[in-house]
Subunit: 399 residues, 4 copies
């Protein structure tokens, strides 16, 4: 697809994702991690305006200079920014004005593309598209959280999927392998450099853990068995009274789960989602296994010819069994720099590098990830406590 078409497609998808929202829904920050949907729509626009047009388009005039404060997420390179935990008190600019902002920037970007821009500018524009696709996933995560508080069903005329589980594991042999992105095509800086690492023999399960599996853990008192937990995890679940995955609720008739199709009886065959790293780790210990490292997962993904259909372009907003899509999978790896990585100076260096502390890598993609956005080398990252993202777990063990 040519870049211009791709740009328009990506831009349209963000707006489409918000189709089920009322104006009031666009404004809500339902918890500290969530950003209001209208903020995502504006911030992704700000990215092109500031990092592409503002730097490469002569005589470019910003839509509104104040937006730089509101819609800069965290780039110290671009001056003061609105505090993340205060995004939910911004009623203005309103949704209509943000749509105008999007249209203004879109028009300017399309004009810019007609002017034979430099390769450097095009690369940053491409980064902007990937950036927007990340935010599409955040949009859907955040909308789910907002809708769970307000008990709203998100409906895109799709159906919950039926799922299938495959028993057994894949086995991999020890040795030196190469990892990371080889610079053939787009990648984020944190995926490189391409480098060798020594891998020990291991097995990776063919299926992700299901709601039914996780329910057994709960019914066996897993949340109360203190020896299963990381020390920080135990403190966290106690302080926050956590005793089931996010969005699970025990009713008089049994467990329910809030989904993008509304509140539903818990489907035992569906892969479990919305668990923290702490819960994933405790489950693995309880099951006598462990989480895979990010290298192990990547080796499997590069080796296996597995489906990649369970992405945003798919037919359902329910997790299904899939290696590469459907749900991000917690790895056991801390989110640290790869050998030889160095943070770029300036704003692009703020994109990934400054977050390399206290977080864990998740591999794969989810039903909210665009197919075009997926890479085997992708390193997603969240704090161990985070649960509102579309994540699940797949177990491994030493072979």
């Amino acid at each position: 697809m040519i870049l211009k078409d791709l740009y328009q497609k990506v831009r349209k998808t963000s707006v489409d994702i918000c189709a089920p929202l009322q104006i009031e829904d666009y404004v809500i920050q339902s918890c500290l991690e969530v950003s209001p949907p209208k903020w995502h729509l504006a911030h992704t626009t700000w990215f092109y305006e500031t990092l592409v047009l503002g730097r490469y388009q002569a005589n470019f005039k910003e839509f509104n200079p104040e937006f730089n404060t509101y819609f800069n997420s965290y780039y110290k390179s671009f001056g003061k920014h609105w505090l993340r935990d205060q995004r939910g008190i911004l009623s203005r600019p309103g949704v209509g004005q943000i749509m105008e902002y999007r249209n203004y920037v879109d028009q300017k970007v399309l004009e810019f593309l007609n002017q034979s821009p430099s390769q450097e500018a095009l690369e940053i524009l491409e980064l902007g598209l990937h950036h927007e696709q990340q935010h599409q996933e955040l949009l859907l995560m955040d909308i789910k959280n907002i809708f769970s508080v307000n008990n709203v069903t998100y409906s895109l005329n799709t159906q919950p999927a039926s799922t299938q589980r495959t028993d057994g594991s894949w086995t991999f042999n020890e040795g030196v392998y190469e990892f990371g992105h080889n610079n053939d095509g787009f990648s984020y800086d944190n995926e490189g450099p391409y480098h060798k690492s020594y891998i020990h023999s291991f097995e990776l399960e063919k299926s992700m853990i299901t709601n039914g599996d996780f329910l057994k853990f709960i019914e066996d008192g897993g949340y109360q068995k203190e020896l299963l937990w990381l020390s920080d995890g135990l403190t966290y679940i106690k302080e926050n009274n956590i005793n089931s995955p996010l969005y699970w609720e025990k009713g008089s008739e049994g467990w329910n789960e809030f989904t993008l199709y509304g509140k539903q009886p818990l489907d035992l065959n569906t892969p479990v989602s919305h668990i923290s790293y702490y819960e994933a780790q405790a489950f693995a210990l309880w099951a006598g296994k462990r989480l895979p490292t990010e290298y192990e997962w990547e080796l499997a993904a590069k080796t296996l010819q597995e489906d990649t259909q369970a992405f945003l372009e798919g037919q359902t907003l329910t997790p299904t069994q899939s290696l590469k899509g459907s749900l991000w999978q917690w790895s056991s790896s801390s989110y640290d720099p790869y050998p030889g990585y160095s943070r770029e100076a300036g704003p692009l260096g703020e994109y990934n590098g400054k977050f390399m502390c206290n977080q864990r890598v998740l591999k794969g993609g989810s039903f909210a990830t665009s197919n075009w956005h997926y890479r085997n080398t992708y390193r997603n990252f969240f704090y161990p406590k985070d649960r509102w993202q579309f994540c699940g777990l797949r177990l491994a063990k030493d072979a």
Copy 2:
């Protein structure tokens, strides 16, 4: 005015106050004290539905039973309620649905009024009207706060007023006087019983303290003079970096104040507003005077034939010099029960009595108070730290 007309007028005023809002503005809780405007519109409606129709109208059917959770403010008598600090994460019901709710209840109330309801029911309906007028004032306070964050001008086609100051004081002699409401007409339970109290001779200033007066306090280092402050007040201003009234901002050209007419250069003649009890007390000590007690203020108000024009029906949303309206005035009195007061059992007992701790009485009314809602015996109350209400100060001293 007959009750039916009065009901319709009060109901219309709440909606009119919100006329300058966009949909997005209705949803915002800009700080913990603020409630989203749409919440006020719904809660005032819930009050009639639950305390009048639900108890006195046969076969009444609620508009939506879930609203009882969302829009019950704090009445333990009516079961669980949504937490106050979580009101800003409710996008639903939306503004449109709340307007339908208002229309539904209004129609049912008007039908009910045609059925010769009991005196008891009528009295609670009247309470509901006063309740809604309190919330009209809260609406305007909260909108001002939301608009200050978003830098929006609230315009009702009125003009800032020019103000006038009168020097000098009124003097009152010591003796036993009677205070509180004598049950001739409507009052809240906290205004009674009518009772005697011994008053010592005192003087009350004819004007409220102005922005110009307060600026002198600031310029004299008042916020840094630790001996002027109550111990709790000193802790509070230090922890919150408070060194001017709320909405004041020092720019390169001097002080500005955010008003309902937008950000304006500070008008030195305007009565100072948006100060906490702590600031009022420190100012009074700095000025060598003190705040009046609630009894002193009430005695003056009952004695003097002063203007009562500076109310919601007035021509401006700027404070002006006025004894009884324009700005609520901090008294030095703790909000405690009057002699002989006892808390009514049931929901009405929750209206005032349970708040009689840690708060201070404010007397008068403000430009956001309805004239019909004003009483000399009115006991408004806020925490000593609160500053977002339309409050100012008037000094007194021993005679």
Copy 3:
């Protein structure tokens, strides 16, 4: 008693109160309200050194200039002071050095008294003695708290007292009465000026509420009956999981209470102690009565010839039934200035006036109060949430 003897007696009592302590006990700040015992011993000494010797004795040389920072409690007039919540991290000066400090200052004070000091100096010295007696009470409160954490019995070779209850009430007629201290002898500034107030007819119970009475409240679900509580009180007990008086503990054999005689089975006849204002108020509402105002209590105390034996010089460290001693009694009155009160400039003005916000008056005295320190006009004050002081409750009602 001549002042010199009195000085020596008061000074000795502070040290005597600490006799049961090990060195380690002197250092502990068991909760934010508590100060380490050695801090009390040093702070009371600092008071004479700074407010008497430092200001009235020529060529006086401080024991150690750094002590001014450590042992100034909160007097902004004397510069920076160590933060209250950090007193428990001071190991130095040690107990031995503080005893040397006491001896040094005592010797200097006694020399000073031999030099015919001015009346002003003598008055501040007298204030210092009262100040130290307040701290003797704090010492015992704080030691009790420290010992409760460490499960240590405080034994002064005394016995728990047996108690007696008297049914019935005293009745008082309405009218104008005079209150406060008339300046005949020592008083704190907050007890004056002597002034008139109008009192409505009331009854005051002859006995304080007992543990047995309070247990009935608990067993009737008093802590769960939300309508009984002040709004702030309900929040407070929920956030802190409070469901019995401080130091009560439900064991397998029934309720126990930690006392200065160690953990004991709850004595139902003993007056209940260590309850907050919130609990006192909820109990009163449950009992269909109310707390007395500070004026009502003072009128009773001035009128009645009641025992004053249950003070520090008594035979027991158990509360007994007594009007004026044994336990401080919560009044319903907010701690506000009396008519005509003005805060003195300088350090003495910091003694009482700056605390006149958010606190409640307690009247009487306790078994930890010196008899010489007691006055009918005494206005003790604590925050509504405070429970570690020796306080109880006596009910009143309108007559």
Copy 4:
């Protein structure tokens, strides 16, 4: 050295470290990370009592069963334990009683050693010795913190050392190397299993960064250059007003540093210590280098015949230039399990494994580490924010 002698030597060292303390110093918890010195003395004793005698000595009688609650640090396997942040409110058992406890357990251990105990028991006893040596280091860290608050000089009749810096780097070639402990002699479980890892070519500096180096970073505005910092680190230093290493203080005559020899003018040649991982990382980025991984550091230590004299048995309590001792060195590695590691069931599994989240590995040892306790494979770990340990930094770069 035979085990019995070693036991006695280790036990004596803990007590010797406390020689400069007054009784009051033993009780203090000067910040949340610090434990009172007497707690360390008791906890190390509890370890032998509970994990050795209680499990392997027939008919063993505990010194005092309550001590299990007070002196269990965090072993969920042994039931409820006193909360870590409440250790500073324990005055009892006092220092004398804890010394009796030590003597009691020492006598029982020595008797036990005379009874030909099982190999398993001996291994846990050996673990206990290493455990106590860890706490000796904690003791000195915590005493330094307590003494800094109280401005006390810790003197063991030693002198500050003069230091020497060596310019240049060591270079290492890429390849597969083996890491971790090979089970020849004692190690903690987290040091194994012995395993291969692929290393990329790198250089490691011969000297640690000095105070003088770090001062240049400060003077260049390093703490204010937002782009140098990890996102979490920037938040942390802003919230805690951190702008120099812990114990540095800028006086009118220049920078001072609180040391175990008291407050001293900053010595520019001494290796910088008491910096967080965040500060280490920002410094490295500023210097155009990076921190070494734990593997890189271990490879250097195994390869080089460097001094190991700067340990607890040395002549000074000042950091000097040394690879393996003197100061723990922040690695860039997250504290995660080695390939093949599995947490042991039961209490020993709680020793290390449950802390493998959110922490970073430090390599080496310090002047507070016993020589016998040092291993190249040692994995010390602290949170990125921690600064009170004896840590410094040594830079690396890609070769």
